[in-house]
Assembly symmetry: C2
Homo-oligomer: 426 residues x 2
């Protein structure tokens, strides 16, 4: 049976999460499939940030560090994010960028792995996926150089064997982005963490494409370290602060090198020797960016609003319905145009995105779609990436996106030269 | 001759910079002497940040990285700050926090000093001032530990001799906050840089209490590295992003360890090996925090608005007039109450603040003043710190502050128990 747009509209009418879309400002007529790169503007954000500016900063001035709760804002918002990723209160803070937080946790993991009982001086290897997001690899490369170690890049499927092999004694850290940014493939956090621990290694998980996209239980998975991004599925705004989590059993056992004053046990004693705060607060560094953390809180609240409707599990069910639908429509309606679906077909392995690849013209096809109001993004060298965020996308949006894709391909419109002019960012 | 409040009002009427005050939202009746901790809200900031939220983010979404110039915003605002500190265009970027930027530059400086011709393995010592701001010392301590070096803390007056001594061969980095946060004393950047270079060391300058407060010429001083704060004299808002500058001759000669994707030569090629961008862009790390950088730009613009009125030189002249006036009024009207003026009496040595000390009650006196609408801050263990920012302070504000201080001291009001209850900040 062929699916019609009316069928999709019927699915939307039956969608118990449909009202969540009203939380966002979304430009009229746009099908926004890039929330995995930059989440849209929550309706509450402008007023909240305006309040922080005019009342808390403008009127309260320096006193707002106490009276408006600025000092503990990274913890307060951290506690909210913790609910989305299966961490406990007080275990997670908002701080810096994903890249900076990666530096903190990979460094701490290297230190702990080296100091573990039975660890030899050879335990300095960071294992990661060849196709991990570049910033993860760059930071790991930098730390491997500083610690006299090595970054070893493998295909995802080869990682378990590498950990299980006799050579496993040299692996200090397994560093993975839980959901691959390009393909949307999900790593098995439980199994890989177990394998890493068996090899004497610690795990660092980048949750950039997980937090707010999939249900997760960091505690149950016995993960060691995690970082995540505030501006994708958490809708915190462009360049929003990131977050960092450390397993409570480990958090006080390592220093992190970005030993700024806000991570000190007593920042306002102004004493010269560094003494890290107890708990996750030691992963703070400089003065928290209040406007940005306040905006992030509004974004996180858009996800917490789903808690009464089934929370992340319900969002995940809808996300899978949307990605399944898009893959089906691409197969049914865009066949014969050289597209390959590179995201996993199996639900349990697929994040909240569907990535396509094409030998030629991937960039131009994305540009032609954007002109038609369907915003995905291009990921070099050949990937068309479409994110499906169940908070605000409808089944008809999926239908419209596939239909525009079909028209771009069938018309050959993407061959027009203007779609081939590269910009810095997609 | 005794100065009266009317004399101060006359000085204000003759002040060619008086109109600059209109750039700020300042609560009615408040004398705000804490702009050296958190600058006040510029009138333009709420509308500009609202525009970034509702138009650039809300309407433009991911496309604003190109169309709204987000990708180059850290450079654009950096170029504006460069004009305030004597750096050239393209030499300075906005990024991360002061603490994180300190980590980048001290690390790069250690690396360069060690690799310099004639440098031995012993050249690993970081020299700093004992009373430097703690985050500078914590970051230096952390890097000294990682690099197998040592942080050596001296009294300010002992630094030149330490650099000149035969032991100078072991000093890799001289790390100083140009204007001491507690006393407001200015280090002689030219002389100390020369002495450091003669000793084979590189200089790192923290401009937290310099940028927007004093004229400065980083290029002429032949400084090597500098970082600075966005939320003090630059009025960028609570926890505003910081900035980082490297002498052009050095910038491509070292990597900095926070090798995030935005500092890569080609971030959107998504290639696995790290290749730093040319120039100061390699000191970027994660995705720039757009709302916060936009707010910072409004703050920086309040200083650039003085350029037609004489710029930093004119602001400095007024700042000195204000601090001289406050010191005089404290001497004349608050004598006999155990206050000591700890900021230098000599203009050329004094930043844009006057710090007082008292053996007992410094915290409580600051609290009593805040209740009376005169906002300074307490700096442990015994300092009452008052910042005088010529952009928005009037001579009558100085007079009123000194008068309230006199009343608090003469009445003994500060002895009331409520003024002794410690809060986390200020």
């Amino acid at each position: 049976m062929t699916l019609t747009r009316d069928d999709c509209a019927a699915l939307d009418r039956a969608d118990p999460l449909a009202t969540l879309r009203e939380q966002f400002h979304l430009p009229e007529g746009l099908v926004y499939l890039d929330g995995n790169s930059l989440g849209p503007l929550p309706r509450t954000t402008p007023a909240r940030v305006a309040e922080v500016m005019t009342q808390e900063w403008g009127q309260g001035l320096i006193g707002s560090w106490n009276s408006a709760g600025w000092m503990t804002l990274p913890q307060r918002v951290g506690d909210k994010i913790a609910r989305l990723v299966g961490a406990g209160p007080g275990e997670l803070v908002v701080a810096d960028s994903t890249s900076v937080n990666l530096y903190k946790v990979v460094s701490a993991a290297l230190q702990l792995a080296r100091e573990a009982p039975g660890a030899g001086p050879a335990r300095r290897v960071i294992v990661s996926e060849r196709d991990n997001f570049p910033t993860d690899l760059y930071i790991a490369e930098s730390l491997a150089r500083e610690h006299g170690g090595r970054l070893e890049l493998l295909d995802a499927d080869d990682i378990p064997a590498r950990l299980a092999a006799g050579r496993g004694h040299d692996v200090a850290v397994l560093l993975l982005t839980h959901v691959n940014f390009r393909t949307g493939r999900i790593h098995d956090m439980d199994a890989l963490t177990q394998a890493a621990h068996a090899a004497g290694a610690l795990t660092v998980w980048d949750l950039a494409h997980t937090a707010g996209a999939l249900p997760l239980d960091l505690s149950a998975a016995r993960a060691d370290f995690a970082v995540g991004c505030g501006y994708k599925y958490l809708n915190g705004g462009p360049g929003a602060p990131a977050f960092v989590w450390v397993r409570p059993a480990l958090v006080n056992r390592a220093w992190q090198p970005l030993a700024g004053w806000i991570g000190h046990a007593a920042p306002f004693e102004f004493t010269p020797g560094y003494r890290p705060a107890e708990g996750i607060a030691r992963y703070l560094c400089g003065t928290p960016p209040i406007l940005a953390v306040a905006a992030l809180e509004c974004g996180v609240d858009t996800l917490l609003a789903a808690e009464l409707l089934g929370g992340m599990a319900a969002l995940r069910a809808k996300s899978l319905a949307l990605t399944r639908l898009f893959a089906r429509l691409v197969r049914e309606r865009c066949a014969g145009h050289g597209l390959r679906i590179v995201s996993p077909d199996v639900d349990a392995l697929r994040g909240s995105q569907v990535s396509l690849a094409r030998d030629e013209g991937a960039y131009a096809i994305v540009q032609a779609l954007i002109e038609r109001g369907v915003v995905g993004d291009f990921r070099a060298p050949d990937v068309l990436r479409f994110g499906f965020t169940p908070l605000y996308l409808r089944h008809v949006d999926v239908w419209d996106a596939a239909e525009q894709l079909r028209q771009v391909l069938e018309s050959g419109q993407w061959r027009e030269p203007r779609f081939h002019q590269r910009q810095q960012v997609t």
